[in-house]
Point group: C3
Chain length 137, copies 3
């Protein structure tokens, strides 16, 4: 059994942004030498998400607007009594999910034609880390 | 270490439908020969979900209605400028989660009494695939 | 390859409550002897969640209020025609996610500085179980 771990660092220009990280995950899977197994792709922060969706500019904008509708950026979260201002980012992290597991078959991501891996940044403009851990044979 | 991969194909009669796929996953776990490990059950589409809930007709209807309330089927998603009409299906896929990992102990799903595995179809009436990948000993 | 499985039993005082279970998961990871791998932490019930967020009293209260806003405790879920009264708990379980996978590197949870593991109880005041299954080397 093989294991392989690597980290992706992102730093978004906008406070809230959706980044396609598929090719970075694919590179790590290739380096791992794992031909059959799984990769965990997980945000190392509680104000970010990892999820699978579609690389299409319209839907990415729809996702950002939906995040705002279901988990709005309001001033009065109790969390803000600590001096923080990112209460909504904690909720958005849960709405879009914190991590994914992706399958690896014949040394490649075993995905359908439209599946792509995204990082959802909900409190950006600073370095954030993503862990990718590959397990398999 | 063993790995085993299989695919389930579904084709729902309705556009939006919740299917219990527990017995199909159990069959694949049995074929895998894995006695202790995990199975990834993941939709290979971005307009579908995999989740754990209860096999009870009322709650399945409640889930469909809740999906519609939180991620409504509206005409004006930006994604629709591409000619697509399934923007809501992308949101519902995230709300209900895209994939699950289930535990295997003594060659069986290590579940509580009410846990069942469901496929949530949000844009159906065509062939869709689910990957089941088993890892363990 | 090693596998190790253990169960955490919780019994909350309140019907809805968020419990930090990080140290219990850490203890199981230590017992497993796994130095590099993953741990599945999964609710064995369909009225509970496992998720990663922040150990801060304000945000935990915000999370409970958000759960109520997006998946409200209403009397008229169809599920209640069975005699049950916990329809909202099934929805909240999905909103906050049913299980997580956490990475293990150098025999420890490979987490960012603020990540903590939480159990979300949506229908408590009785014994509930959480499975922790560790896979790795």
């Amino acid at each position: 059994m093989k294991t392989y771990t690597d980290y992706i660092v992102v730093n978004t220009k906008k406070e809230k942004e959706i980044l396609n990280i598929t090719s970075q995950v694919e590179d790590i899977v290739a380096k791992s030498g794992v031909k059959d197994g799984m990769a965990l792709v997980s945000a190392m922060h509680i104000t970010a998400s990892i999820f699978v969706n579609d690389e299409e500019p319209g839907i990415k904008q729809d996702l950002l607007e939906w995040a705002e509708k279901v988990a709005p950026d309001l001033p009065d979260y109790r969390h803000h009594q600590t001096g923080e201002t990112n209460g909504d980012a904690h909720l958005k992290s849960l709405l879009f999910n914190h991590e994914i597991i992706v399958p690896i078959t014949e040394a490649r991501l075993d995905f359908g034609p439209w599946q792509q891996i995204f990082y959802g940044e909900w409190d950006g403009r600073r370095n954030k880390r993503i862990i990718v851990k590959v397990l398999g044979v």
